[in-house]
């Protein structure tokens, strides 16, 4: 549609986009350059680092302890489990046409509207009671449970877009309800699963609230809590802080860049069709 637009309008759009692109990149550029500056250079915010002061990254890793590893150990299994539970719930809800299915769907959906702060106090005591306080499996359980509404919503919509004739054909060939799910539906839903995996990675990797309330020691505390602790001191050392920030930002950012296509495709399949 571009050729029909007058040249001047296109130039104006381009100018606006460039200005916003610069504004969007500036804070990230600040973080990156600061993470590579020595303490003497840091106050000159607009200059580029004279030499690459990579020691900041060393300090960041030392201070963050094993929290980066914890973040990985929490996020990877929790993403798999939450997608699995969403698919398991979404499958019958996409297949049944009855009233009961619809009611179950809306009840699960209503969970999407619950601000998580509301459950925080009882959850804290529950997790204590079952002995999963300050453990990585405890975080898997919590992230999986609170992913039920969104993942169900997402996978149900995605499964609804898979032609029903596929299901009927498989049934006639003697495929069981369970067999259809594992052998046909899940493999056919790769792009939806990938999109949901990215959304969930972001949500779980970036979580602060559950991590703050349900972990306390270095053995389970993820990077987000460690960084929040980093900034609470009165004298903030911006070099190492920005290094830690960059490291905590990279995994999800790279995942989005690598899977951008399937993310957009999955989002459309799951929302707008």
């Amino acid at each position: 549609m571009a050729p029909t637009l007058p040249q001047r309008r296109l130039v104006a759009s381009y100018a606006v986009i460039l200005v916003f692109a610069a504004l969007f990149l500036a804070p990230l550029a600040l973080a990156l350059t600061t993470s590579l500056k020595s303490p003497e250079e840091i106050t000159r915010v607009l200059s580029l680092p004279l030499s690459l002061h990579v020691q900041n990254y060393g300090v960041a890793f030392a201070e963050m302890g094993r929290s980066f590893l914890n973040s990985l150990l929490i996020t990877a299994p929790a993403v798999v489990l939450s997608i699995l539970i969403g698919s398991i719930a979404g499958y019958p809800l996409a297949m049944t046409r009855g009233r009961g299915g619809k009611i179950a769907y809306f009840i699960l959906l209503s969970g999407m509207l619950v601000p998580f702060q509301i459950v925080q106090i009882p959850l804290f005591f529950m997790i204590h009671a079952i002995g999963l306080y300050d453990t990585i499996p405890g975080m898997w359980l919590v992230h999986t449970a609170y992913a039920v509404p969104f993942c169900t919503f997402f996978m149900r919509n995605f499964f609804s877009s898979v032609p029903r004739s596929m299901y009927e054909a498989a049934r006639i060939d003697g495929c069981t309800v369970t067999g259809y799910f594992w052998r046909l539906l899940m493999p056919a839903s790769a792009s939806g699963l990938a999109a949901l995996a990215i959304i969930q990675s972001r949500a779980i990797w970036n979580d602060l609230l559950f991590a703050m309330t349900l972990t306390s020691s270095d053995s389970a505390r993820p990077a987000t809590v460690a960084i929040a602790g980093f900034t609470s001191g009165t004298q903030v050392e911006y070099g190492p802080l920005m290094a830690a920030t960059i490291v905590s930002t990279l995994p999800v950012m790279l995942a989005y860049l690598a899977f951008q296509k399937s993310f957009v495709r999955g989002l459309l399949g799951g929302s707008g069709k």
């Binding site: 571009a2 029909t4 296109l10 759009s13 381009y14 986009i17 916003f20 692109a21 804070p27 600040l30 973080a31 600061t34 106050t43 539970i85 398991i88 719930a89 019958p92 297949m95 049944t96 009840i107 699960l108 959906l109 999407m112 509207l113 619950v114 601000p115 702060q117 459950v119 925080q120 106090i121 009882p122 529950m126 449970a145 039920v148 609804s160 049934r171 003697g174 069981t176 309800v177 970036n206 602060l208 609230l209 703050m212 309330t213 987000t224 960084i227 929040a228 980093f230 900034t231 903030v236 920030t245 930002t249 999800v252 950012m253 989005y256 951008q260 989002l267 459309l268 929302s271 069709k273």
Partner: protein, 303 residues
């Protein structure tokens, strides 16, 4: 149908589907329904979280909160955040999507640039923007001095009157990418013929946008507004990691206040009452969204 056998008078496939639902429904009951009921119960008591007995106080926690300036201020902040989220990141995301959908060169690169901030953790947003807002040598003040606006520089996060607006600036940067991507995908989904037809009938680009494209973007708009409305009620991590609600509670929202009252002051009853207020407000504000969603699901079923 082949392979249908009855158990308890139900077809086998129905039982299989029921079995699939068992685990998610159990998790939902344990992690959503039980804690909500329990929060309401605790909110009617005076309890420090440790004592073996809770003292029943009825509605007192709710009444105390309703007259407490600290609570009312946080409530007002949540409502400002709601308006802000529905207007600013949504509007900017729509603007950027509309501009970029004109076949601009380097579209892929810009798409990544606009979306990038959304992928980073709230604590990283907080760390970066504390450095941007640093009153003496931070990026914002330095740039303002460079262009001769140095006199207008503020103590961005230290001044109670502007701290919430400063946080909104950071959140605008953080969340616009999401609205942008949903709108952009929505615009790409609109069949070209609709736009051509409008053009042939002599519609200006402005009219094409507001009369043809924008109405067809309705599904995307519902998603963005709904998610942002929920986010503005849930708002916690950016505020907590940037200012912890300060200075002097000025930037507090209900979620950060609830956290401070519960886990900082161990007044579980009052904190639970804050939660219940939050749930009530969220339900009232977000109900129209559930309604719109259920309509859409009904529509897609009818196809």
């Amino acid at each position: 149908m082949a392979g249908v056998r009855s158990v308890f008078g139900l077809p086998r496939s129905t039982l299989a589907f029921g079995a699939f639902l068992a685990l998610p429904v159990a998790l939902f009951l344990i992690f959503f329904i039980y804690p909500i009921v329990s929060t309401v119960y605790i909110s009617l008591h005076d309890w420090n979280g440790v004592a073996p007995t809770m003292r029943f106080v009825g509605w007192r926690n709710y009444v105390t909160l309703a007259t407490q300036p600290r609570f009312l201020h946080a409530l007002a902040n949540n409502l400002s955040w709601l308006v802000f989220m529905l207007v600013c990141p949504t509007g900017l995301g729509l603007l950027l999507a509309a501009l970029l959908d004109r076949g601009i060169r380097g579209e892929r690169v810009f798409r990544i640039v606009f979306f990038l901030p959304f992928t980073i953790p709230a604590v990283a947003v907080a760390a970066i923007w504390r450095w941007v807002y640093e009153p003496s040598g931070g990026l914002l003040t330095t740039v303002m001095q460079l262009v001769g606006l140095g006199d207008h520089a503020q103590n961005w996060l230290g001044d109670p009157r502007i701290v919430t607006y400063s946080l909104m600036g950071a959140v605008l940067w953080w969340t616009t990418g999401f609205a942008f991507l949903v709108f952009f995908a929505g615009l790409r989904n609109i069949p070209e013929e609709f736009i051509e037809a409008a053009r042939i009938e002599g519609a200006t680009p402005w009219q094409v946008f507001w009369k043809v494209r924008f109405p067809l973007l309705w599904p995307s708009t519902i998603i963005v507004l709904g998610i942002f409305a929920i986010d503005s009620m849930r708002l916690f991590d950016v505020v907590w990691a940037t200012t912890s609600g300060g200075p002097a509670y000025a930037s507090e929202v209900l979620a950060t206040q609830m956290y401070d009252v519960a886990f900082g002051r161990f007044r579980m009853g009052q904190a639970s009452a804050i939660s219940v207020y939050l749930l009530g407000i969220a339900a009232v504000i977000i109900m129209p969204y559930i309604y719109a969603m259920s309509r859409r699901v009904a529509d897609s079923e009818a196809e």
